[in-house]
């Protein structure tokens, strides 16, 4: 099997070595130990090799040296209780952030924060497409040699917060956040079908999506905090603005006639939208051991971004969608301890998401037969749903510091909508039974063993139909709607055999068994997941600790379907076993070499197997689809990190 390490071993030693007292602290040692201190940390690091993944969110991608500094300026006036803070992180890097806070504790406060986060695509694109980053792309009409292009996006946000304590145990909080996200990301256009035959390989074209997003969030909360009663009410608003409503592309391939890629322009980009929520939440302690909580909220989300001109626009659809989704939520819970050893918890939640978007006939050519002879409705399909969640749990204290916990969880979904190309059922229900035995407050061995069984079921699957009323396959029960039985066991042990040594072991394993549509055994079949983890901590002294850990995740899922038509009568069954495996381990040393400084050495390794080729080989399918080994893109992902930092405060 050919292996390609996407990431080579790379290390960065971010050595924060110079710690300087920011202010002259005087000689008072008590002040040093009891009053906020300011620090500036300078550091330098070296990236030993180009590493796209490592620097995906920091910009540390290319081999070379990097500088960095952090700043913590903390001042407190003890006479007035006034704080002044400036906290800066990664100030030499692209993921820099800086925050200013000024407050009089117990009275008022405000903060302003700037935050920057890049995101690089791990791999450069070799492309001759021009205009990348804009909404006007030019694609060559024939295959053309391109140049390496690095796609990236970057978020820059400003956060402002204000709080004020008011008489009568009230507190007012205001918040505002503006984020600009700019750049370009992977996107494309294409079609599966083209001349001369319906089974010809489709043409795809690389058409990066321009990102020029603005998101704003703002709101206010008024809190009341009393001894027994606490109440929070407020408003939360959010607005999304996209400077580009459509991607316009010139050029491109005309192979395929009316299905050719060059017909796919303009392409819709994410539409402006907004949501506004009012909420009220309260908790009341009826007795020292009995407490109730209630939350209610109402949200209206709208989308009325103007349509851009299109070739086929049905008269009467208006200038925008007029989308409106109203969501009401009520959640309540009651916790009580009727007996010293018995605790009870009941929880109920109801959410009603109502899509009130008007329905129109948008697509004038939907009623014409497609290449498979099917016709479609051309209507938009707003879908609404209601969900009920409830939980009841009891907990009883047993001798020797054991506690037994048992509970029942119930979830119900009620959906509108009618199926067309995929399966749909109006209601699903899932009920879970839990039992758990815990041991806490013991000196040597504590831990938990738990078992959960859940069963999902629902109403009958509605018949998938085309616009002409013809049934459309009806073989697959979608994974989120299918009947499912799940069993899960979990074991957690904390063991302290000797005073300085602590060992933690966690194991959990679950098994899923999916149901199918009547008369079919296709779709998801069985799944399982395993997680193993062991951690150890050894304390050499109060000042020095060594840690080590190992984790492994494994998930498996079997699914089945039929090979494509045409010719439809030759459809044959295929199955595949999907796995997803990660192994990670690490070691660390933490300590205080001097009174003022902290040293942390951390080494971690992560191996993730994107075992696509294994999955492909494990497919049981007709011979005509078998694959050759010559170009197998087996993908392993290996990440090693060695991180050393020293920190201190003056």
């Amino acid at each position: 099997m050919q292996q390609q390490n996407i990431l080579h071993l790379s290390t960065i030693a971010a050595v924060l070595t110079i710690t300087t007292p920011f202010t002259a602290l005087g000689d008072d040692m008590i002040k040093q130990m009891t009053k906020p201190q300011s620090t500036i940390q300078f550091g330098a690091g070296y990236l030993s090799d180009d590493n796209a993944r490592f620097g995906q969110f920091s910009g540390l991608r290319d081999e070379g040296a990097y500088g960095i500094f952090n700043v913590d300026i903390l001042r407190r006036n003890d006479d007035s209780g006034t704080w002044f803070k400036i906290i800066g992180r990664n100030l030499g890097l692209q993921n820099r952030e800086i925050r200013l806070e000024h407050s009089k504790q117990g009275n008022w406060g405000y903060s302003v924060e700037f935050n920057q986060t890049p995101r690089y695509e791990p791999f450069p694109a070799i492309t001759a497409v021009e205009g990348i980053g804009s909404a006007q792309l030019e694609v060559p009409t024939i295959p053309t040699t391109g140049n390496p292009t690095q796609l990236k996006t970057e978020r820059e946000s400003i956060n402002v917060g204000i709080n004020k304590l008011l008489p009568g145990n009230f507190e007012l909080n205001l918040h505002f956040r503006n984020e600009e996200k700019d750049g370009a990301r992977i996107f494309g256009r294409g079609n599966r079908l083209g001349a001369p035959s319906p089974t010809a390989v489709g043409g795809f074209e690389f058409t990066p999506e321009p990102i020029n997003f603005t998101t704003r969030q703002f709101g206010a909360t008024l809190d009341y905090t009393g001894k027994d009663l606490q109440v929070t009410g407020g408003y939360h608003g959010s607005i999304f603005l996209n400077k580009n409503s459509a991607l316009h592309i010139t050029g491109g391939s005309d192979v395929g006639g009316i299905y050719a890629p060059n017909n796919f322009s303009p392409i819709a980009l994410p539409s402006d939208n907004q949501a506004h929520q009012a909420f009220l939440s309260g908790g009341y302690s009826f007795t020292p051991t009995t407490r109730g909580i209630l939350k209610a909220s109402y949200t209206r989300a709208t989308q009325s971004d103007s349509f851009f001109p299109t070739q086929f626009a049905t008269p009467g659809i208006g200038s925008n969608l007029g989308g409106q989704v109203d969501t009401a939520l009520v959640q309540s819970s009651l916790s009580a301890r009727p007996l010293p050893k018995l605790s009870l918890l009941a929880n109920a939640r109801f959410e009603d998401r109502n899509d009130n978007t008007p329905v129109f006939f948008y697509n004038p050519i939907a009623l014409e037969p497609d290449l498979n002879g099917n016709r479609w409705s051309g209507l938009n399909q707003p879908r609404s749903f209601r969900t009920w969640n409830s939980k009841f749990e009891g907990s009883y204290a047993l001798p020797m510091n054991f506690r037994f916990i048992s509970g029942i969880d119930y979830e119900h979904w009620d959906r509108t909508g009618s199926p067309a190309t995929t399966g749909h059922r109006s209601t699903t229900d899932e009920i879970s039974y839990r039992a758990e035995l815990r041991r806490t407050l013991a000196e040597t061995v504590t831990g938990t063993i738990s078992y959960i069984h859940s069963d999902r079921f629902g109403s009958h699957f509605l018949t998938n139909r085309t616009a002409t009323g013809d049934p459309f396959f009806n073989f697959i029960a979608p994974i989120n709607l299918a009947d499912r039985k799940r069993d899960k066991v979990r074991l957690s042990v904390n063991w302290e055999p000797i005073d300085p040594l602590s060992v933690q072991v966690m194991i959990d394993e679950s098994w899923d068994n999916y149901g199918h549509r009547a008369g079919s055994d296709l779709g998801t079949q069985k799944g399982s997941a395993r997680n193993y983890s062991i951690d150890a901590v050894y304390s050499f002294s109060e000042l020095w600790q060594a840690t080590g850990w190992f984790s492994r995740n494994e998930t498996f899922l079997d699914q089945a379907s039929l090979t494509p038509s045409p010719p439809r009568h030759l459809q044959e069954r295929w199955t595949v076993g999907l796995d997803n495996i990660s192994t990670a381990f690490g070691a660390g040393l933490n300590g205080r070499p001097t009174e003022k400084s902290i040293l942390a050495l951390i080494l971690s390794t992560v191996i993730s197997l994107i075992n696509l080729i294994n999955q492909l080989f494990r497919m049981h399918k007709p011979i005509r689809y078998q694959i050759s080994i010559s170009s197998s893109p087996d993908l392993d992902y290996l990440l090693n990190m060695l991180f050393k930092k020293t920190m201190g405060s003056g």
Partner: protein, 319 residues
């Protein structure tokens, strides 16, 4: 001399050295300290009335405590802050008066504490029950014996779990599966501290599932990915129900945090009509479903489209 007395002397020694170094004795400071109205104690070092404790406990003792003075708890002008160590640790008379033995204080919060976790947490809830902690008692954490001090460091100058870069390490003490997932190739920038656990989860409980900070999984995701909110002319039903049907936000081996690679992911719902059910291949017709972005090579508008014009089938999400 008993072991306890030796220990007591050892605890007091650093403070004695410190006070001598500063050219003053505890008594000399007491002369300048104002008497409290109850006349029971003098002004403390970090709290208003802590001298009974700080005579022994300093930064070199087995249980260093002075750094609490650097925190909001140590801002003594704020009348809401603890007036003395006893505010949280109880009267602790046996601990204070013990001569041959030194019992634990009335309430302790460390790993060897004998106090029930409910009792310990109630000390914190006496002041911190409102606002974002409103739902604590109905949360899974509260009902699985999670002590506030299992996550929070009260006496440290910087509470680790409230530091964006360090927070995840605290959560991973219990959540091992997520520790491995955040290091997978497709992930959020959690390692960099740009997205942290508490951006999405309220560990003190919430009205949403999995302690989501907003009322649902999707509302939480929309905080940063608002372009997916819609509603659109052509909606993709699972997108509206729950982002986690297709994505694992903690990290995956498939791109874009997808739980399973395309086309297998899409085939978990879509019927075996023509290419929608093709086996994944590396050559031939159906490599288009496997390579690059898989099905999303063509169906780029997978979260929904606001284009009135989609060719023939309103669910193709192609333009």
């Amino acid at each position: 001399m008993s072991r306890q007395i030796k220990k007591g002397l050892l605890h007091r020694l650093p403070m004695l050295v410190l006070t001598l170094a500063l050219g003053m004795s505890p008594n000399s400071e007491a002369k300048n300290a104002s008497e409290d109205t109850d006349g029971q104690s003098e002004r403390g070092i970090v709290l208003r009335k802590d001298r009974e404790c700080t005579d022994c406990h300093d930064e070199t003792s087995e249980y260093p405590i002075l750094a609490i003075g650097k925190t909001k708890h140590g801002t003594t002008i704020d009348s809401r802050t603890p007036s003395s160590c006893k505010s949280c640790h109880g009267e602790s008379n046996d601990h204070l008066e013990g001569e041959t033995t030194m019992p634990m204080p009335s309430i302790t919060f460390g790993k060897n504490s004998k106090n029930p976790i409910d009792e310990r947490n109630q000390i914190c809830l006496n002041c911190h029950q409102g606002g974002k902690r409103m739902h604590w008692l109905s949360s899974t954490h509260a009902n699985r014996d999670t002590a506030c001090t299992a996550c929070h460091q009260i006496h440290a100058a910087q509470d680790k779990v409230r530091d964006r870069v360090a927070q995840a390490e605290v959560c991973f003490v219990c959540h091992k599966e997520q520790r491995a997932q955040i290091n997978r190739p497709s992930r959020h920038p959690i390692r960099e501290g740009k997205v942290v656990c508490s951006d999405c989860h309220n560990p003190h409980g919430s009205a949403g599932p999995s302690k989501m900070v907003r009322d649902s999984v999707n509302e939480t995701c929309f905080s940063c990915h608002m372009e997916k909110r819609g509603p659109f002319i052509y909606n993709h039903p699972p997108v509206q129900e729950n982002c986690a049907i297709c994505h694992n936000p903690h990290g995956t081996t498939a791109p874009n945090l997808l739980k399973v690679r395309s086309p297998f992911l899409c085939e978990q719902c879509h019927e075996p009509n023509s290419h929608q059910s093709s086996p994944a291949t590396l050559t031939g017709y159906y490599r288009r479903n496997t390579l690059a972005r898989g099905c999303m090579n063509c169906h780029t508008q997978i979260h929904g489209s606001n284009n009135p014009e989609n060719i023939r089938n309103e669910e193709v999400f192609q333009r």
